[in-house]
Amino acid sequence: MRTFILRRLLVSAVTLFGLLTINFFIIHLAPGGPLEIFDNPDMSAEVRKLILKSYGLDQPLPIQYWSYLKSMCRLEFGYSIAKKRPVADEILDTLPNTIQLSMLALSLELSLGIIIGIVAAVRQDSHLDKTLRLSSLTLYSIPEFYLGLLFLLLFAGGVGALAWLPPSGMVDLVAYDSMGFFEKLADRILHLILPCMTIALGGAASISRYMRGQLLEVIRQDYIRTARAKGLSERAVIFKHGLRNALMPIITIIGLSLPVVFSGTVIVENVFGWPGMGRVAVDAAFQRDYPIFLAVNLMFGALVVAGNLLADILYAVVDPRVRLS
């Protein structure tokens, strides 16, 4: 088990190194630069040069790359060009919000997906199953930004000016400071509903289809018949023998879902004004804010790699076949 984890850690490190290298060259070789959008005729050419110099952008690319690697080794992320602050501060401000949103969305996605999948599988070919399958296919095909807008219109005041749920942000800015603890908690939950649902539904749809397929596959196995033949109740058959085996591949899906969930947050954070790292990433890409772009993408990369590592370890822990081989 230890060598297994060590080996996976090594692979992760190499992956991240590759990721940061590719990111570095992609963003630096993209047309335009960090001053392009904010440039204005009142800024003299000398000042422009000084700005570039102060961020080390006047150096040849290989030298910039080398110093970037060196600073990464010291875990220094440098300064954001557009945000006028240390990159680390910008990330510390937004990373917790993104993690909060994406982890909640992921749990929601998994629990919804698994439950719907089970229901559909147990009631295979019933009208309920067909309805669930059709609606999950529909949800799965709707792009997130569109689903987000749809939710805005339906639940946040678009139709009939009835705002059931807050359309943006993490808290009610006007009243939050004067709220008690439970009001604050409720307020935060209310603000989470729309962005969470928007990210989770599409994923839940695909997980439910996957779950249904897995469970049906497992139910067809002889050991399920054996369990029935032993006289086990149907519920116990599904949950003890069926579900535990059908859930195994879902663990792998968690690892694979992470990048999807994160890319979902990028879109959803913009639609619902969620103050997360996805927005930082989008801004940084458009503004060619190299230091922050690199840091944020490395962050997302690290989260995905860590998620996959965790899924692998988890898989090894729950599956006796993996553990020992």
Binding site: D125, Y223, T226, K230, L324
Partner: protein, 323 residues
């Protein structure tokens, strides 16, 4: 023999599967996998069920245990009509009705240890305390030729033959009266097959268990069975004592089946009989005797009609107009 009460009685068992088509899954037809099968078993008796793959023999095994719901027919076990019970009422009876499957890989839950798997049945039926159950599980393992050391291992650590032994142990631990053996040896290596066959034979002697031994391996069936039933397209076409059937097959299909078996037979008494055509689809079986389109001795104008019903335990029963 006649004095022995019947352990199991199957009467007119039918299982038809719907065929669904189109977006709305409308039922467009029925596959008659089992279409009116009747037979009976005595305590400790073994009935071999043979036939080509797709003839419905596995479906007979599963539907008589109600692992799938039979479409019609009566199954009476030990005086109780299984087909009239609810699933809940059926559960306590399952202790006596066990099954082992063909694939030793998919028949064991990969997430459970051997001990957990074998012991689960005892727990379900509330047999003894944990200690007693442990003992019985160990006993069952020894009975099938495994070591009690294997209790905490997982299925993937075993070979196919060992897995089949685990499957058997899991069935045996409940002291069942009847086991459906659904092609228990066909997925195994030839050398292992005989070990499992011998094990089944020993257990039959030792515990007086009745088997429904489903197989397409005619030699294995001959070795283990007291009586043999031959199935063709969802129906039993011939049923007789094992020796009688193998010595004197009456139904042309049985003859063809036996002729196809390569046996060491220097005298060449058996003629090789090649059947024309393919097995017809059970979706649309031929009328009358289902075998007649391929039958070498079919009598035109007669075989298109349903042959007389086959009556069990009346000597050598055969469903054929020409015999």
């Amino acid at each position: 023999m006649k004095a022995d009460p019947l352990l199991l009685e199957v009467e007119g068992l039918k299982k038809h599967f719907p065929v669904r088509k189109g977006v709305f899954g409308r039922t467009t037809g029925w596959v008659r996998a089992v279409d009116g099968v009747s037979f009976s078993l005595l305590r400790g008796e073994t009935l071999g069920l043979v036939g080509e793959s797709g003839c419905g023999k596995t479906t007979v095994g599963r539907s008589l245990l109600r692992l799938i719901e039979p479409t019609a027919g009566r199954v009476v076990f030990n005086g109780r009509e299984l087909t009239a019970l609810t699933h809940r009422q059926l559960r306590p009876l399952r202790r006596d009705l066990q099954v082992i499957f063909q694939d030793p890989y998919s028949s064991l839950n990969p997430r459970l240890t051997v001990g957990g798997m074998v012991g689960e049945g005892l727990a379900i039926h509330g047999v003894g305390g944990p200690a007693e159950r442990g003992e019985r599980v160990a006993e069952a393992l020894v009975q099938v030729g495994l070591s009690p050391d294997h209790l905490s291992r997982y299925p993937h650590e075993f070979s196919g033959g060992q897995r089949q032994r685990i499957g058997l142990a899991r069935a045996l631990v409940l002291n069942p009266k009847f086991i459906v053996c659904d092609e228990p040896i066909s997925a195994l290596d030839v050398s292992i097959q005989s070990q499992i066959l011998n094990l089944l034979a020993e257990l039959k002697q030792a515990c007086r268990i009745a088997y429904l031994f489903i197989s397409h391996d005619l030699a294995a069936v001959e070795y283990l069975s007291d009586r043999v039933a031959v199935m063709y397209l969802g129906e039993i076409v011939e049923l007789a004592e094992s020796d009688e059937l193998y010595r004197n097959p009456l139904h042309p299909y049985t003859q063809a089946l036996l002729a196809a078996v390569p046996v060491a037979d220097p005298a060449g008494r058996r003629k090789r009989l090649i059947l024309p055509g393919d097995v017809p689809s059970p979706l649309n079986p031929p009328s009358g005797c289902r075998f007649h389109p391929r039958c070498p001795i079919a009598i035109q104008g007669l075989c298109e009609r349903q042959p007389p019903p086959l009556v069990d335990r009346k000597g050598h029963a055969v469903a054929c107009h020409a015999v």
